[in-house]
Symmetry: C2
Subunit: 503 residues, 2 copies
Amino acid sequence: MAFFRNLLKPSYSSSFSCSNSYSVLNKSKTPFSVSSQAPQIYSSFSLFSTQVTQYAGLHPTKPVEKPRVVVLGSGWAGCRLIKDIDTKMYDVVCISPRNHMVFTPLLASTCVGTLEFRSVAEPIGRIQPAISKEPGSYYFLANCTSVDTDNHTVHCETVTDGSDSLEPWKFKVAYDKLVVASGAQASTFGIRGVQEHAIFLREVHHAQEIRRKLLLNLMLSDVPGVSEDEKKRLLHCVVVGGGPTGVEFSGELSDFIKNDVRQRYAHVKDYIHVTLIEANEILSSFDDRLRHYAMRQLTKSGVRLVRGIVKDVQPEKLILSDGSEVPYGLLVWSTGVGPSPFVRNLELPKSPGGRIGIDDWLRVPSVQDVFAIGDCAGFLESTGKPVLPALAQVAERQGKYLASLLNRIGKAGGGHANNAKDVDLGDPFVYKHLGQMATIGRYKALVDLRQSKEAKGLSLKGFPSWFIWRSAYLTRVISWRNRFYVAINWLTTFVFGRDISRI
Amino acid sequence: MAFFRNLLKPSYSSSFSCSNSYSVLNKSKTPFSVSSQAPQIYSSFSLFSTQVTQYAGLHPTKPVEKPRVVVLGSGWAGCRLIKDIDTKMYDVVCISPRNHMVFTPLLASTCVGTLEFRSVAEPIGRIQPAISKEPGSYYFLANCTSVDTDNHTVHCETVTDGSDSLEPWKFKVAYDKLVVASGAQASTFGIRGVQEHAIFLREVHHAQEIRRKLLLNLMLSDVPGVSEDEKKRLLHCVVVGGGPTGVEFSGELSDFIKNDVRQRYAHVKDYIHVTLIEANEILSSFDDRLRHYAMRQLTKSGVRLVRGIVKDVQPEKLILSDGSEVPYGLLVWSTGVGPSPFVRNLELPKSPGGRIGIDDWLRVPSVQDVFAIGDCAGFLESTGKPVLPALAQVAERQGKYLASLLNRIGKAGGGHANNAKDVDLGDPFVYKHLGQMATIGRYKALVDLRQSKEAKGLSLKGFPSWFIWRSAYLTRVISWRNRFYVAINWLTTFVFGRDISRI
């Protein structure tokens, strides 16, 4: 079968090796195959294990085969690249612990049931059908543990949570071109207790956790035996971080309270409150008029805006730097992002701020055939360009640019490893800020279409911008299926109210 | 505030008692209030604790107040009763660890993504709006731990999974009428390993677990390092139990394989298989012709039918009584049901089979004001009637009957505790089997409209019955919102294929 051609073939008879692998799997839970091919791929295996273990994986491609682009990550940057790359020219291998892209601008809406989780998730296989069907293209549910740039190989480990019969195992993938798009992680600023007690808002499982906890607190606060103070604490929702994510979530929450809690949890509707804590200015990257509008609207809808710095987080309250205590039942942490441990451990030059350093063409210039895009990448100081903000539109634009650059390289015959040294790369990547949008509750949003904070330009607020916001989102990278579902979700929420099953 | 009128009021000043309760909550995680009222309610407290702890709860109702019906459970029986009871006459308190009803006939479809989980769940608050809004009606997220029939009180404990800041606590609810509708649990027949390694198919979280595991196995089987045997094992889905649930799930799974796996997991589509294991005959309660049709269709769609008895379940294989081993990657257990530990521990007379014994009017005849319906209840031997099968339509019919009986009692002035002794109860409950339906994959179903196995009557198969099946389900107790969503889900599955995000 053609699609096995790159998998390491066992050198024993197939029945023996199968049972050998199977029995080894049973004993040690680490499947491996013995290979007689391409010994040079294992020169680095001693870096990973003192055992004489050889990992399975994908071979380097032969000159007659399609070159292979390996993409680490399944976010805005990686998925845009996967979508736009020419799969007649390249095989694509996507390696990520998450098999879908999350449409992050709509994530806050899923926490309270305005939208369903599935409506904001787009499976990789639908973004790039070749991954589902083509013999040489794959999606691997795994994390990359390290990159061997000399040997053009990434080392990976599978994700097996949810399986009680499988331990994770390691494998390797040889690449012709590597694109690191592994994203960033939420910053906790070293504050104790954040990881244990707060919930971030970057993934669908965060949104699910928030939703379940909110509904649990609403139900428990109605059970006999809860004191007044406990009721108020349980139903106090605190959001830390006044950027678009925190503001959007506060807006959704206050809308949920005004409409659905009033009807469906009438017994406790007077106890539930929302507080938004920000160290500086909320929505600091937006136009001043829009910011003041947002603050007025949030305050009008019942959100308490507090300027403060969180110093300590405990199971039932947080402590601000001025010593005041804030009891909470639900704590959502939506401050900025920073480099992940994977990025920090990569032995590649870094940009200011610790991201993977890239040049004007989004390459990692110190090695061959490695690129980086999205939140994990930043211009090297030597380029003279500032590190771009960690925004979805930056990531998406970089993914689009890099796909066309790789297609260009492939057309010029530079697709295979170490072949792109003399290819004309064309124009460097230039980011033009198209403005930004944020929603602040039902029917209200901000649309800031200026190219920078200082520039003049169109900025809208209120219902017209809410309408623009909704339309713009619906036209982005989401599939028709999800566009349909998002529209249906919005319609049913409008007609029937949000769903409150604690699932 | 009127809705506090039945809650125990602390006898101290409110600030002292609040802080007292709060500080006690902090220390011992057990909130309680000191009460100066109704000491007789606590005569039984010593049964529950050697501490001098008094639980909070709902008082017995006063003669001028509405009598209170307490319903344990949120399944077919309990929800139908809650829906039909006259809330102008009664306050309704529903106590259940689950805040929604599960539309079980459609549950199998959610495992593979034909339908979304939320489309088959109906929140209690929407089934009976009085629970959300009326001061004296409640839904409590809790389990009933015991029933004190002499004092007309149920003792409960909250469910706090998902909260890291709250321990469960106890409370009591006094009832005028008690309806036990707590359902049954899946039978494991004492077979070792079932609880640990198999997944049942009765709740939404079971369906979620099945779906995640199925997608995990599909993705992992494509990663380098998996031997042929491992791939086959991982992708071998075994269903134990040939009743409607098992057959429907096998049918859905084989449809998923033929359509979605073929397109979206093309690399491994030849490895995935389904085996249905049944000890006797599949669909034994259906007409013979329909049974043979079902077996032919299942076999044609690739399901392997095996007659066997499972003797032992291990993490990666199960052992049949004839000694043969069946390796599996996903094991779904959908055999019969039996009495739950709660029912077994109730000190009330039992029916044959161990359910709560009821008379012709669904009362527990040995005590006052206690009724039982659904899977947890069975006719006492003295009635001469056989225990009814554990079917949704039996439960629903009993819920409907009992609601009208309670309404009748209430109208005759017998609503309050111990007041119903002389009320004329009218006709006893009679169950008339309206036939049954089962689906066996895309566009095929069985509709057996005979009243019993021996009777003659209409029995249909194939596409016409599939259409009837779909229409009939859409007209049942589901709300308009979920009818809409179910129809939308079916439409999008037909147009776009199933969703495969591993969420």
